[in-house]
């Protein structure tokens, strides 16, 4: 019966199927892209470390240790780094450099860029050295010149444009040079040099749990004092970009599903509305309500299945296509191949959710009375309570989808709750609109205006459905686009030119003004200038640091560089407590502020006591605030911040940061600085910054692309909404034409109705989206909301435009064809 019934409506059913196809296609494409890109981003994070595991040691690793570690890996590289003087020949001068000698194919992830390009390969053969461009400028040296390192002479093979990942951000206060490990051994510099750091880079096939891996190695070598790093440790350089990106992907996936489902509900509603007469005839002939429901449910399932399968296929096509097209622009080397598991999951989820949403209009079938056969023109009526179990089922389904997209239960509830609130608000606005139009339309209004506006509240009006479907669609789309925009703005900020790229270290207190004036003379800004004092942790809560349970051993060995100031900088936010601006009691306990991760490592919270050893002087401190620091901005940040009035007399130095526009300017400035303040060291961060900037830029591209795809998911909504109102408006318009209305009059009536609906829908949807954007920005992405007026106004214009154009497209047939069908007593 379901098959036979479909015969006269196949074209219409194809449109309904299209709604499902585009919904599921968007869902599959977005989820597949999400999986591909997430995998790619993971490996991109690895490029910040260059390997899966880096083991660093102050002592040379023994051969049995290397052998044992090598067994865990597919590939290994050894590295030794240490500071040493490098002499530029002939007699051009010397400078302290951080020498990095390596063998093997490190970095395993990401790549080193040199000028000339082949210089990195050439280096492996030995006899050469690679330098930073500004150093070359500083000594007016060129590629092919000779330098002396320890007892050997090396040829400058080229300059490093993008370096290999470093040991840590301040691995040495000197520019880096790259040498073949064999050359280092020949130079005789190792062994004498106690400052050397020995490292082993490992590429491991599959690391399930980075922490477990480290733990296993520690257990194997309990006495080792190695520092171990995995890609996880490097993510802080990307700030919260990765985490936010993943949250965004989850949000987009949820929204695309909801969008597709709303579209399907609209399309099914339109279909069932057209079948009211048939259903009532069936009921009249003795067909029970359940059977009538079954017939159309079977139709919906069959079409849903077909649509879901086609949509899944199309989604795979889109995903592979996008990856092929965007391949080079993506941050990561993603292979454009289908993610079959995701495709199966999303197709099934899409099918289920679509069936669930289709149930909403289908349920109303049971309410179709056989009496309708006696009087035509009835519309679908349903009761909220009857549909309640389905609403609950759908909310449950959406919750599961939200949860499986990486949100915790609380956040999932908030996200789905937000959608429910939007739904209720839109329904309320629709009801208010109907009530208002019923009252305000006056007899003196021009006929066309009166007719257009009155259509909003009259029987057979589409106000509620229109607002709900298109409004929810606009709400979800604008939310996604503005959150994408928010994240992109943040990413741009992180890539901002305001971030420092040159650190000047070891500036003595009496040199600060001198260094600053050299900067100014060179036209360079003084971005930050702060004092820095080194110190160690002696005890925590009265227990010696090495003996505190759960606190890693390196805490006791680490030299903390702290500063003192009475305010937060723009990358810091207080999570707990309050930043102390002064020491209340000059001889009492010092209130300090800790960065959140170090507080976790030290296992301390607000009110805990830490005794610090400031170069021999013991200082009793108490944690009074915990700060979150956005490390991705590369400005001066510290694990510990003291209030002014405590550390001023302690031996320390100042750090000044600036931004140089090019390696040439940087080299020129460093040359001048070295002449006037020989003790001041400059650290050039340009290369690290560029690497991070590349990744952030690429994440931003992906966000834009994916947000664009949600628009595809919104397509079925427009289709469904317009199909819903089509029949009533079409009939009415043809009748008006028969009675002598000009095509202009018919169009004006339709434009007034659709424009009012469209504008109100756009306004409600966009206002809701602005609210959602604020809530998401504050509670989910921990960012300040970034209302984009351009986006808001375009959305307002576009939704109104789409509804008016849609309405006019409907009237096209009316104005071009003969109205004779009305005479035929047609439908």
């Amino acid at each position: 019966m379901a098959w036979r019934d479909s015969r006269s409506q196949r074209l219409r059913l194809v449109v309904f199927s299209l709604a499902i196809v585009s919904g599921v296609a968007a869902l599959t494409a977005i989820h597949s892209l999400k999986t591909s890109v997430e995998g790619g981003i993971e490996s991109e994070a690895k490029s910040l470390l260059g390997s899966d595991l880096r083991v660093s040691s102050r002592k040379k690793l023994k051969s049995d240790e290397i052998e044992s570690l090598t067994k865990r890996a597919e590939r290994v590289s050894r590295e030794v780094s240490f500071p040493s003087m490098l002499r530029f020949l002939p007699d051009r001068g010397a400078r302290l450099m951080q020498v990095r000698g390596m063998d093997g194919a490190y970095p395993f992830y990401g790549r080193v860029e040199t000028q000339p390009i082949e210089a990195w390969k050439q280096l492996r053969q030995g006899g050469g050295i690679l330098l930073e461009p500004s150093v070359l400028d500083q000594f007016s040296a060129k590629v092919g010149d000779k330098v002396e390192l320890g007892g050997i002479r090396l040829t400058i093979f080229g300059v490093i444009k993008k370096p290999a990942p470093r040991g840590n951000r301040f691995s040495g206060f000197a520019p880096e040079v790259y040498v073949q490990l064999g050359d280092i051994e020949r130079s005789g510099l190792i062994g004498k040099n106690s400052m050397a750091s020995h490292q082993l880079h490992l590429q491991i096939k599959e690391v399930r749990d980075e922490r477990k891996l480290k733990k296993a190695i520690r257990e194997e070598f309990p006495k080792s004092r190695w520092r171990m790093e995995t890609p996880e440790n490097r993510r802080e350089n990307l700030g919260d970009a990765l985490e936010n990106f993943q949250k965004f992907l989850g949000l987009i996936a949820l929204a695309s599903l909801a969008l597709g489902a709303i579209g399907v509900a609209g399309a099914v509603h339109a279909h069932v509305t057209r079948r009211i007469a048939t259903i009532s005839v069936l009921r009249c002939l003795g067909c029970p309500g359940n059977l009538a429901f079954g017939i159309y449910f079977a139709q919906a399932i069959a079409l849903g299945l077909l649509g879901a399968l086609l949509g899944g296929g199309l989604g795979v096509g889109i995903q592979v296509g996008v990856l092929e097209v965007l391949g080079d622009k993506l941050p990561v080397s993603v292979i454009p191949s289908p993610e079959w598991r995701v495709v199966a999951q999303t197709t099934a989820t899409g099918f289920l959710v679509c069936c669930g949403f289709a149930l909403l209009p289908l349920l109303k079938i049971q309410g179709i009375s056989p009496a309708i056969t006696l009087r035509s023109g009835s519309c679908l009526k349903g009761s909220f309570w009857q549909a309640l179990p389905i609403y609950l089922l759908l909310v449950g389904l959406l919750l599961i989808v939200a949860r499986s997209n990486g949100s915790d239960w609380r956040r999932s509830l908030a996200l789905v709750g937000g959608m429910v609130v939007a739904f209720l608000l839109l329904a309320t606005v629709a009801r208010i609109l109907m009530a208002v139009t019923r009252r305000i339309v006056g007899k003196r209004w021009p006929y066309l205006l009166r007719q257009g506006v009155s259509n909003l509240h009259r029987p057979g009006n589409q106000t509620l459905l229109f607002l709900l479907s298109l409004g929810l669609g606009a709400f979800l789309l604008v939310t996604i686009l503005s959150v994408g925009n928010l994240l992109n703005e943040r990413l741009t900020l992180q890539q901002s030119d305001e971030n420092p790229n040159l650190y000047l270290i070891d500036v003595q207190a009496d040199q600060v003004s001198g260094v600053e004036s050299v900067l100014r003379d060179n036209g360079l800004p003084v971005l930050e200038s702060l004092p820095m004092v080194t110190m160690r942790v002696q005890s925590i809560g009265g227990v010696e640091v090495g003996k505190v349970e759960g606190v890693p051993g390196w805490v006791g060995r680490r030299e903390f560089r702290s500063t003192y100031r009475n305010r937060l900088n723009f990358t810091e936010t207080i999570l707990e407590g309050e930043l102390a601006t002064e020491r209340a009691d000059p001889s009492g306990i010092v209130p300090i502020s800790l960065e959140e991760k170090i507080a976790r490592d030290l296992k301390v919270g607000i009110g805990d006591e830490i005794i610090m050893d400031v170069q021999g002087i013991t200082l009793q401190t108490e944690v009074t605030s915990i700060r979150k620091v956005d490390w991705s901005r590369f400005n001066l940040n510290f694990f510990m911040v003291f209030p002014p009035g405590v550390l001023e007399d302690a031996p320390g130095f100042n750090v000044i940061t600036t931004r140089t526009p090019s390696p040439e300017v940087s080299g020129e400035f460093q040359r001048e600085l070295a002449g006037e303040f020989a003790n001041v060291t400059a650290i050039d961060l340009t290369q690290i910054l560029e690497e991070v900037r590349d990744i952030l830029g690429d994440i931003s591209t992906v966000i834009t692309v994916l947000a664009g795809f949600t628009v595809l998911a919104g397509l079925p909504i427009v289709l469904g909404t317009l199909m819903n109102g089509r029949d009533v408006r079409l009939k009415e318009s043809v009748l008006l034409r028969t009675l002598g209305a000009s095509s202009k009059q018919v169009r004006v009536i339709l434009v007034i109705e659709y424009a009012t609906l469209g504008m109100l829908t756009a306004l409600t949807g966009v206002l809701l989206a602005i609210g959602a954007n604020y809530a998401l920005a504050i509670f989910v992405f921990k960012a300040s909301p970034w209302p984009n007026l351009m986006l808001i106004f375009s959305a307002l214009g576009l939704v109104s435009f789409v509804s008016v154009v849609g309405g006019l497209v409907l009237s096209r047939g009316v104005c071009e064809h003969s109205p004779l069908e009305i005479l035929r007593g047609g439908s």
């Binding site: 023109g377 009259r458 009006n461 095509s743 035929r824």
Partner: protein, 203 residues
């Protein structure tokens, strides 16, 4: 075929289903295009006019009554009656519309929507609508086809009374021989052609 109708005259078109009655009506009212030949309505050759010009002509000269009433479901009875005037941009027809509705016996149901009216009541609204703009010609397609005899009687009576009072030419398509007998001229159609024409002595 060749057919002409004078002002105030009445014509009934009869014939079996599928004989072309409604098509002829549609052609006369400019609702459809003839493949050959010409239709002159009050001197205007319909086939030379565009859809909008035809609509304007209908609005000025033509009234319709359909078998399935064809009221606009979103408008109340009085609003439905006013539509032809409103489309002309005339706004002062309220009193006249009320008068017409009272005349067809719906004085107390003016603000009802079509769904709230019985078939007979809907057809009476349609009648009032057909006469509100004083058309020169009224086309009625099976005006009583959906009504029982008790309901159709007053409607037919009203149709002819209004025709007489307003001097409106009346074209009726019907299966009902008793209704056809009320028209002055009756043509019978079969297979798209007029097979006979007779005149009744009704005055």
């Amino acid at each position: 075929m060749n057919l002409s109708l004078e002002s105030g005259d009445t014509l009934a078109i009869v014939g079996p289903s599928g004989s072309g009655k409604t098509t002829l009506l549609g052609l006369c009212a400019g609702l459809d295009d003839a493949t050959a030949g010409s239709v002159l309505l009050d001197g205007f050759a319909i086939e030379t006019l565009g859809q909008d010009e035809r609509a304007a002509l209908r609005n000025r000269l033509v009234g319709f009554v359909f078998q399935s009433f064809q009221l606009i479901p979103t408008l109340t009875a009085i609003e439905n009656v006013l539509v032809p005037l409103e489309l002309r941009g005339e706004s002062g027809g309220q009193a006249e519309a009320e008068e017409l509705l009272v005349e067809v016996g719906l004085g107390d149901r003016m603000d009802h929507y079509p769904l709230q009216l019985s078939g007979g009541e809907q057809q009476r609204v349609a009648l009032a609508r057909a006469f509100i703009h004083r058309p020169k010609i009224l086309f009625a397609d099976e005006p009583t086809g959906n009504l029982d005899s008790g309901t159709s009687e007053p409607i037919v009576e009203m149709l002819f009374r209004l025709n007489r009072e307003a001097e409106t030419a009346l074209v009726l398509v019907t299966h009902d021989s008793r209704l056809a007998a009320k028209a002055r001229r009756v043509i019978t159609m079969r297979g798209g052609s007029i097979v006979s024409e007779e005149e009744n002595e009704i005055f």
